[in-house]
Each structure stands twice: as structure tokens, then as C-alpha cells.
Amino acid sequence: MWNFSFALDGKTDMMSLNPLEMTNFEMMGTIFAVAGVLLTILLSRIAKNRQRPHEFVAHEVEEDVAG
């Protein structure tokens, strides 16, 4: 049975093939990856909410006025 054991002390069992037992660098990679994916999902959701259909409203500005 695989056990969930992160090691922050650099003392990982290097003979183990347990994917949940990680070295510090692997763990940091995993933390970055999970955080990155969650952040991307969050940002894309926020962006989706902000997307509105473009409404064109004609305004006459000074440059358009002939003279």
C-alpha cells in the first residue's frame, strides 16, 4: 500500500518507487504544477465572466466633423 509521505528534509527513500514519496525538488515541481493549473482555471473563469458581446455605439467626435 502506497503511503502519502512528503519529505521536506531531503531524506527521501531513494529505493522506493512510490510516486507520492517525493524529493524536495519533485514536491516543489508538483506544488508549482497544481497551483499553476488551479490559477489558470481561476483566471480563465474570471475572464469568461468579463467577456461581453461588443456593442457599437456611434459617437460623433470632433475629428469627424467636417470643417
Binding site: 521536506l8 528534509d9 527521501t12 522506493s16 510516486p19 525538488f25 519533485e26 508549482f32
Partner: protein
């Protein structure tokens, strides 16, 4: 759905490889964790020689630059190319020679992720496959560098 899985898998690989290399590179200079010790394996002498030559320090600088580019999503194809020699060297030294199964799996995973990312960003590398090419030196038109930003 498949496209979404593909997108997030690529993001996962980019952040994993970036975070791994960035922290590994920073740890060499800042030592917030003990450095991994060199174990008995055939590649030992190569690692020790590269340390003596200062290549190890150079590799760690490359890891920081490449890791930063992957994590911040800036110049990603360049970051992948910069990191490639480091990943390949670590893979070749450890994958076939390391007595530690965890290390073998770890370096193989990094190599596979790197290849996946190179394939994911392949559209930036297609020009390299030009069969016949002519030189177009950068010094003739240096503005092309910042134009390509």
C-alpha cells in the same frame, strides 16, 4: 473536453518542469535544503569532473533561467531549448546507471515531460526543419531581435 485536458496537461508539465528546475537551481546557490549527495554510480566521475570545471554552476544558472521562463510563461520555446542540455545530461547520467530506482523514474519523467513540451510548442521549431537554408545574419538587421518580441 479532450482539448481542455490537453491544455491543462501541458500547463501542468510546464509548471512542473519550471518549478523543479527553478527550485533546483536556486537551491544550489541559496542552500535552503541540503544538496543531494553523489552516490556510487558509473556517472560519478563525470559529475565530479563537471563540478571541478564549473560546469555544474553553469548548469544551475541555466536551470534558473529556463525554470523562470517556464513558470512565468515568457520565452517558453527558448526556455525549453536552454533547459534541454541539462535535462538530457541528467537523464543520460542517471537513467541507465543510477542504482536508485527513484532517481531513474524521476529523470525519466523529467525527460518525457520535456519532450512533451517540445512537441506541444512544435510550431516554434518547424523552421528548424528547413531542408535548405541560407544565412541571414543578425548584424545586417539587429532590429529583428526586438521586432520578434
Amino acid at each position: 473536453m479532450a482539448r481542455a485536458i490537453e491544455k491543462y496537461f501541458i500547463i501542468f508539465c510546464r509548471f512542473y518542469l519550471g518549478g523543479f528546475n527553478l527550485v533546483s537551481g536556486l537551491n544550489y546557490f541559496l542552500l535552503f535544503w541540503p544538496q543531494p549527495t553523489v552516490r556510487d554510480s558509473v556517472g560519478n566521475e563525470y559529475v565530479i569532473a563537471s563540478m571541478d570545471l564549473g560546469l555544474f554552476t553553469f548548469a544551475k544558472v541555466l536551470e534558473i533561467i529556463g525554470g523562470l521562463s517556464l513558470v512565468t510563461n515568457r520565452f517558453v520555446p527558448l526556455g525549453l531549448v536552454v533547459l534541454m542540455p541539462v535535462t538530457v545530461n541528467i537523464f543520460l547520467i542517471n537513467a541507465f546507471w543510477s542504482p536508485l530506482p527513484h532517481v531513474v523514474v524521476s529523470v525519466t519523467r523529467n525527460m518525457v515531460m520535456h519532450c512533451i513540451l517540445l512537441a506541444a510548442y512544435a510550431n516554434y521549431f518547424y523552421p528548424l526543419l528547413k531542408f535548405r537554408s541560407a544565412p541571414r545574419p543578425v548584424w545586417r538587421d539587429p532590429s529583428r531581435i526586438w521586432k520578434s518580441f
